[in-house]
């Protein structure tokens, strides 16, 4: 466990931050006046969304780096980041409708920018992972192109859905939050950031270890 041992502390720190706070958050945070208890989902929903988008850009950057330099590290990072998008994106898409059902009365709303955009972005990176898995030899390069395109087009998805109307609470809600809620949100954000970074590192290390294994096998055949 040489590789992971260095990063386990980060993982534990992130998890501990979340674990210690979550029950307290749920009970103690003030109930938001217009939406009621259901709004408390947002303490995990919002950081997850931010991590998902962050991961998308990391994947895009790493893909570009791989396309031009062909470094194994860049490719490993790209795969790891793509998995992060799918993981955190799933959390957003799972908690979103739960919130929406109470807040707006419907499970899904197409004209909501963020929900639709997250779904499309999620699908782009699921397609990325499918390509990795089923594309056969040489799929690292192909998926790098897919990752780069995917990340670059995410803003367009935002713009096009946004030109519809949006029901989603506007971003200004974060600035106008009462201090208690803002604090809890920042705490949660920190926890998710730690979690994201440590998962990303561990997953990248896994991919790099796999490369070493392949090379070791190849060396064995000589």
């Amino acid at each position: 466990m040489r590789i992971a041992q260095r990063f386990v502390p980060f993982l534990l720190a992130g998890a501990a931050v979340l674990l210690a706070r979550a029950p307290l958050m749920i009970e103690a945070a003030p109930i938001e006046s217009s939406m009621g208890v259901i709004q408390k989902i947002f303490y995990f929903h919002v950081p997850s969304a931010i991590m998902a988008f962050l991961a998308a850009f990391v994947c895009g950057g790493a893909s570009a780096a791989y396309l031009w330099k062909r470094g194994k590290g860049a490719d490993a990072l790209a795969v790891a980041a793509a998995e992060m998008v799918v993981l955190f994106g799933f959390i957003v898409l799972f908690t979103g409708p739960l919130w929406a059902r109470k807040a707006w009365g419907v499970w899904w709303e197409w004209q909501d920018v963020r929900l639709t955009m997250t779904l499309v972005m999620w699908m782009i990176f699921v397609a990325y992972l499918l390509l990795r898995r089923f594309g056969g030899p040489g799929s690292e390069v192909l998926s790098a192109a897919a990752g780069l395109f995917g990340a670059a087009l995410v803003p367009f998805v935002y713009v096009s859905v946004n030109y519809w109307r949006t029901l989603h609470p506007k971003t200004t809600v974060v600035n106008t939050l009462p201090p208690d809620m803002a604090f809890v949100l920042r705490w949660s954000m920190l926890g998710f950031l730690l979690l994201f970074v440590s998962l990303l590192i561990v997953r990248t290390q896994l991919e790099l270890a796999r490369y070493r294994l392949e090379e070791a096998y190849a060396g064995l055949d000589d």
Binding site: I124, G138, L142
Partner: protein, 226 residues
Amino acid sequence: MSAVRAAWLIARKDLVIEARSRELVATTLFFAASCVLVFAFAFVRGRDVPADAPAAILWIAIAFSGTLALTRAFERERQGETLRALLMAPSARAGVYLGKLLGLLCLMFLVEALLVPLVALFFRAPVFDAPGYLAALLVAGTVGFAAVGTLFAAMLVRAHSRDVLLPVLPYPMTVPVLIAGVRGTAALLAAEPNFDVARAWLAILVFFDATVVLLALWTFAPVMSE
């Protein structure tokens, strides 16, 4: 060999082959028409047509036919191993992309020339009221769709599971095109056409096209050189 010359040669080759065999054209046109027919059965109820249905159906038919054409267009290259030969000349690589894109665009415009009157006929849509705007939307949208599709089709020529991956991969990325195309066309076909809305969507499409084509030209050479 410059990129432009390569593009022209490739596009001409594709079009000449197509003109002789008419295989792609015939099958794609028929497929597009069947699409519209199926949607007609699904949506038209006596005299009632749901408000934005014609716009949506037009673009869905374009997307589906486009994917069909894409798959077939690169099949030819794969079987003939011509792609590898084409890519030998480094200066011409971008030209290969442009040439295939041009060939695909010609085919798709032809399909749209059939689709638009069909949709007008089956759904009683006033498509000829604003032909300029509609044509602009169609051109911009098709370029965006084809640009993404051509890149992925070229990328996947030698990949496993190509047949399944080619439809799957570009679709989420062409969502902006579909949204913009449908909403823009719907604005034009509405009872009171809203030209400002159509113009805005057109602008989004043009930006999208520029971004995608630029990105594709950048990444085509690195991706295809193995």
